[in-house]
Amino acid sequence: MKNNDKQYNKYTPVIGLEVHVELKTNSKMFCRCSADYFGNKPNTHTCPVCLGLPGALPVPNKTAIEWCMKIGLALNCNLPLVSKFDRKNYFYPDLAKGYQISQYDEPFALGGYIEVFKEKGSQEIKKIGITRVHMEEDTGKLVHETVDGKKVSLIDFNRSGVPLVEIVTEPDFENEYQVVQYLQKLQKIVRYLDVSNADMEKGDMRLEPNISLRTIHHPEQSEGSTDSSAKPQNDKFELPNYKVEVKNINSFRFVEKAILYEIKRHQEILDKGETPVQETRGWDEAHQRTVSQRIKEEANDYRYFPEPDIPPLKWTQNYIEQLKSSLPELPDQKIKRFEKDFALSYYDAEILTRDILLANYYEEAVKVNQELGIKNQENKYPKVIANWIINKKVDTEKTPPSQLIKQITQETKVSEISDEDLNSIIDTVISENKKAVDDFKKGHENVIMYLVGQVMKTARQKIAPDRVKSLLLARLK
């Protein structure tokens, strides 16, 4: 066990992430075609602009840009006052113009972060740096089919020009757990902002982790020390001399698996004294492994240059402040407020805020409850409602908050049994539980709770346990 730990400690994973989020604007990024293309007949959502016909020109979608900037703000980024679009030149049959309109050196947002827990079960916070958030357009899609007995590749341009936001992190992740938390938070944030459905199955979020392992040097080892608990003095800020990218994953679980697979693969190669090949790989779910797709000898040359068809964009500080104040309460803020205002645990608050609709439902229920004037027993009522929603899996669509509160009230209603009736039940219980009573009298005070339970059982109704306990104690004295 100890040996294994030591082995693992030889390397630290260095993981970065690129995420593409498709926005749910009505129209495409640079034309007025409907961006709601999913499941539609091929090439029905097209025009000269998104088909890249000769002479067609892009006109940027204001809403998409605003949403991209909102994502930047929600991720704690700085928004520069000047930005521009660039052309990224490369050839692929699904790329209508032979270049993609993207952003190169002046993206809409720079330098943000997301906070995650360092390890499972740990409360230690790790800040994941966000390098940049930029806007680009999606490509068309190749469809491989057999037409008249001939195998052909067809192009569907419905997706061409749909607004895409790319979010790039620093290589700050140290394990797959941090990555998954980050992705969940990002997904929540874009849904809270109401700018993307972030539906994995529809390809609204595409994930590309890049992975490498950094070797930790143990100077004490070379000095002959065997003390493995000594803090390794590593070259913390030096990145490994290789990087493996896993492209286009559309599930958080696959990302997790791909990362674990890669870490193990790199470890084995590094143990042999070799360096993993710098390359692009894909996740093969059927065989539970990554497979090589393209060896990158050096960075692709996309020959970026400023998009001459779109003038540079300029904002005022005032506009950015306005945008900032238009942001809704974000998931992390909501969790903190729920913990504080409703005395919820992080666990409960996190579950309730995963979906903004559920969070709103919960708040509405708490409000209805307060309006009904129901006594909050030691201010626990919000907690009771939370438990109810979480544990009983309330169908929030069919149960309006007011009805939920009625249900809870009814089912947790404390019986109005009289002291007289209760005492007679207590007497029965005492007579039927001689041994327990004896034990209690001998000083086993814990037994009292057993007797309380027996009284409740016999009474067949909910009675405040404190009341039963005090009456029982009076009887036993």
Binding site: P48, G52, G55, L57, R303, F305, P308, P311
Partner: protein, 469 residues
């Protein structure tokens, strides 16, 4: 009366008075094309049937009292403007069979103004050149002497107007492509400020400088067409929201007290015979009371390097879509000039070279813009020869990859600065070839340069000189 000699302004008047019909006018031009174009090759496509149909329709509208600025007027359109349902080749075999499903904004505005389109005018393939010799559909000949080049890239548009094959035409200029062929063919050519006229639907050459504009028989005709084309377009993010002025109404306004800048930097390398005509023209303005001021300008030779790098870079990206997958022919159909430009542009944008070429060129471009800004603090307009020489003989561009840049050296600085300029004919050389003079102004000064050009036209007869064909 020879209908084909009418200017736009004259034709419009006769149509309004019902002295002639649009069908008669259109037929006159179609006949002219039939007679001459075998020899001149100004057109890639002649749309006779549509033209006559549209002329008939125009006549009906005129009969109903409709009054539109171009109602029933036959025009030629450069073949890089997308025309719905009519093939648009940019004179390249790559687009031999390409039929756009949409109209360029310029064509749409002309159609809305009542134009009758005669056909698509020949040009240098992809507008790469200043001769039309790079056209995949044969070289256009200069109507003044068919052994000579018409200039380019809008060579077909200029030749068609000079030869009276069209009332007027539409060209596009990236750096000289309107002014230089207008100069060599002895007609008026107006290159508006970048962003004044929409580029939507114009097969892109160098997106940051492409400017559509009119080529006409008179200055007033140019004003009339610019009036229709100018203004913001929702389909082109680079068009300016600045409201266009009323060019037509102001065309005859006084230019009293104007200061004209001339610069030795724009005389260097100019054929003495050409420069002599320009100097005579300047004297006309002096006589009219204009102040002439010698100014120092950044040497135009720097503009060539800047333009070459920026334009090739943009071209390499703009031509990437012609991959043969969806429409037209594949890349093997690109001519040598396009290939040269794609290769050079790909190189200048490549990692490691971008800073040395593209970025540096952008910086120099900024310096050139500032140079003009400073100059226009002292003078209202600047005058120079449009091209260093009159038309050159056929074949001159062959084996001279920088031919265009040399022929356009005097218009390239103002083009890369995005400024407007107009060419007007100022006489003939001894060999009988036209000489053109350009009037350049600051951004959005179309009204002013049209007025200055108009005054010259009023004082002289050069615009009435026609080639004998």
């Amino acid at each position: 009366m020879d209908l084909h000699t009418l200017t736009l302004t004259q034709a419009k008047e006769k149509l309004a008075k019902k002295e002639i019909s649009s069908v008669e006018l259109t037929r006159a031009y179609l006949d002219r094309i039939k007679t001459l174009d075998q020899k001149l090759n100004a057109f890639v496509t002649v749309t006779e049937d549509e033209a006559l149909k549209n002329a008939e329709h125009a006549d009906k509208l005129i009969a109903h009292g409709e009054d539109l600025p171009l109602l029933g007027i036959p025009l030629a359109i450069k073949d890089n403007f997308s025309t719905k349902g009519i093939r648009t080749t940019a004179s390249s075999k790559v687009l031999d069979t390409y039929v756009p499903p949409f109209d360029s904004t310029v064509v749409k505005r002309l159609k809305d103004a009542g134009m009758v389109m005669l056909g698509k005018a020949n040009m240098d393939a992809w507008a790469h050149g200043s001769s039309t010799e790079t056209s995949d559909f044969g070289t256009t000949k200069n109507p003044w002497n068919t052994d000579f080049l018409p200039g380019g890239s809008s060579g077909g548009s200029a030749a068609a107007v000079a030869a009276n094959e069209s009332v007027a035409s539409i060209g596009s200029e990236t750096a000289g492509s309107i002014r230089q062929p207008a100069s060599w063919c002895g007609v008026v050519g107006l290159k508006p400020t970048y962003g004044r006229v929409s580029r939507y639907g114009v097969v892109a050459m160098a997106s940051s400088t492409d400017s559509p504009g009119p080529i006409t028989k008179t200055v007033e005709d140019s004003a009339r067409i610019l009036q229709i084309l100018a203004g913001v377009d929702v389909h082109d993010a680079t068009t300016s929201p600045t409201q266009p002025e009323n060019y037509v109404a102001a065309i005859r306004d006084s230019i009293q007290g104007i200061t004209i800048g001339i610069s030795d930097d724009y005389r260097e390398g100019v054929d003495p015979e050409v420069q002599a005509k320009i100097d005579e023209a300047i004297k006309v303005y002096e006589r009219l009371g204009a102040k002439i001021k010698n100014i120092k300008l950044f040497s135009p030779k720097y503009a060539i390097a800047v333009y070459t790098i920026l334009q090739r870079s943009e071209v390499s990206s703009n031509l990437a879509r012609y991959d043969g997958i969806r429409y037209g022919n594949d890349r093997s159909h690109f001519g040598d000039e396009a290939k040269r430009r794609v290769m050079l542009g790909t190189y200048t944008l490549s990692a490691g070279y971008y800073d040395a070429y593209y970025k540096k060129a952008q910086k120099v471009r900024t310096i050139i813009v500032e140079d003009f800004t400073t100059a226009f603090k002292d003078v209202d307009i600047i005058i120079s020869a449009t091209s260093p020489s009159a038309a050159l003989p056929l074949g001159s561009s062959k084996n001279h990859p920088m031919f265009g840049e040399m022929a356009d050296i005097l218009v390239e600085p103002s083009s890369i600065a995005g400024l407007p300029g107009i060419n007007i004919p100022v006489g003939l050389t001894q060999a009988g070839l036209p000489v053109g003079m350009q009037i350049m102004g600051p951004q959005w000064s179309e009204k002013k340069i049209l007025q200055v050009a108009q005054k010259f036209e009023e004082e002289t007869e050069f615009h009435t000189l026609k080639p004998s064909l």
